[in-house]
């Protein structure tokens, strides 16, 4: 754990902005906070200038809170609405050229392995549906073919939201967008199926209607990517601004879709399954030991 970077020089403690003091005293570095604890610790992603009701920012908040080891994580973003979120993030991150995110992450992950051979460094890609499934599909697929060990997260709002509403390959057939008035002429691309075919060890499809499911799937994706191979999490994040929804209506839409055309899916390779089962057993064992300790102390 690289906690050295979160230790403050005491000669400047009195002039450090409150935000940083809070991050050191009550942030997630080196502590076991997760999405379940939101509201009780200082988050790495808090204020943001995104639209009211933005589901992308909600998903972003959840995954950042679910990082298993934030002190040793580097996130890679891509052009799109996520690039408005990244400047707020109190974590190392790289803004890549639109579509290049999985190529950048490949180099980064390999570079980190060479530079820090004795440390586990997690790399997480976060990009929109346009960046992942259209312009960056080549980079995305090839990183999976090569078996690059990092997690890829797609924020699927089924639109190029940041540039005003063009259709993407992830838009449903027949859907009309602000800048695609005649309606989409072909089916939504199944990137999840492509991911499985390309050899991803873990694949999940979730929506913002289930924050804890996002958290669980994302954590698995990071852990499996660390040990086994590439992973992919696709999160439905409807955009109230482009879809002209009231901010409160966008999560309702996610709820509705999660029961119909955006149902939860999970693919776990046999190797990943074995790894996750062993890990769960180890965690349970730890819990048993800890509660036994507590019993002994209270006795």
């Amino acid at each position: 754990m690289s906690l050295e970077i979160t230790r403050m020089n005491p000669h400047f403690a009195d002039v450090m902005p409150q935000e940083y003091t809070d991050l050191v005293e009550n942030g997630p570095f080196g502590r076991d906070f997760g999405a379940r604890d939101l509201g009780s610790f200082k988050e790495l992603f808090e204020e943001h200038p995104m639209c009211a009701g933005c589901n992308l920012s909600l998903a972003f908040r959840i995954i950042v809170a679910s990082l298993p080891n934030p002190a040793d994580t580097i996130m890679v973003g891509s052009t799109g609405c996520n690039s408005i979120a990244f400047p707020q993030l109190a974590l190392h991150n790289v803004h890549s050229l639109f579509g290049n995110q999985n190529a950048i992450a490949s180099g980064l992950k390999r570079g980190l392995a060479l530079r820090f051979p004795d440390k586990v460094k997690d790399v997480v890609v976060v990009a929109g549906d346009g960046a992942t499934a259209d312009i960056g599909l080549d980079m995305t697929l090839h990183s999976w073919f090569r078996g690059e060990k990092f997690a890829t997260v797609m924020f699927d709002n089924e639109i190029y939201a940041n540039t005003g509403g063009q259709e993407s390959g992830m838009t449903e057939c027949g859907e009309i967008r602000n800048m695609a008035p005649t309606g989409k002429k072909f089916n939504k691309i199944s990137v999840a199926n492509l991911a499985i075919e390309a050899g991803c060890a873990y694949v999940a499809v979730v929506t913002t209607a289930s924050p804890l499911k996002i958290s669980k799937c994302f954590e698995k994706a990071v852990l499996v990517a660390r040990e086994i191979g590439p992973t992919y999490v696709q999160i439905y994040t409807p955009c109230p601004t482009n879809l002209k929804l009231k901010s409160s209506e966008s999560v309702s839409l996610a709820k509705e879709r999660s029961k119909g055309t955006y149902q939860f899916r999970e693919h776990v390779s046999p190797e990943a399954e074995e790894f996750l089962a062993a890990r769960a057993e180890k965690t349970e064992e730890q819990v048993r030991v800890t509660s036994k300790d507590e019993e002994m102390h209270s006795a």
Binding site: N9, P10, H11, F12, V15, P17, P49, P87, A90
Partner: protein
């Protein structure tokens, strides 16, 4: 050709890079004052004079100084605070390089992407960078020179900064101690 002087701004949008005007980095043992190579001690005295005569001198310690608890960083931190006390300077940290849209809080922090906000807000007339990664310092120095009349100083641990109005190189505990001495000498009316 007349020697190009790296004087305080405002130079306007996109101030020229001093290097393109032939300003070279100082050699070991030297410093830079307004783009000219001078002896390190001369540069320290020039910086001390600016600090002592400023209305709102301010130190901007960066991540390399704020987030390390090595012995060296601790000692450098102590010396920076001592120099700041000696000249009555503010200390406004640059804890990281996030652009933090729409705006940082200019009263308590500075950021390389819009350092002019902090300079304007606090009416800073002499700003000293230390412990900032070089490429981020270059960005901040150019923006400050572009949009403000603040005199900038870079206390660099590497080779110095030609876009600062004055700069030391290889700044370590010894050179900070020498700067503290220079400040005391200037306060007593010079050598």
């Amino acid at each position: 050709m007349e020697r190009y002087r790296v004087v305080p701004g405002p130079e306007g949008y996109l101030p020229p890079a001093a290097a393109l005007h032939g300003v070279e980095l100082p050699l070991p043992g030297q410093g830079l004052v307004e783009g000219s190579r001078v002896e390190g001690r001369t540069a320290a005295l020039a910086i001390a004079e600016r600090l002592v005569s400023a209305s709102v001198p301010t130190f901007f310690p960066g991540p390399l100084l704020l987030w390390k608890s090595t012995e060296e960083a601790l000692e450098r931190g102590r010396l920076v605070r001592e120099i700041a006390r000696e000249v009555g300077a503010k200390v406004i940290p640059m804890p990281d390089y996030r652009p933090k849209y729409p705006m940082i809080d200019p009263a308590v922090e500075i950021n390389p992407n819009h350092p002019n906000l902090t300079i304007w807000f606090n009416k800073i007339d002499v700003g000293v960078f230390i412990g900032v990664h070089c490429h981020q310092a270059n960005l901040a120095l150019k923006i400050i020179r572009g949009g403000t009349s603040c005199f900038t100083v870079a206390l660099c641990a590497h080779e110095g900064h030609e876009d600062a109005n004055a700069s030391l190189r290889d700044t370590d505990v010894a050179s900070l101690t020498a700067l503290l001495d220079a400040v005391r000498i200037v306060k007593q009316g010079g050598e």
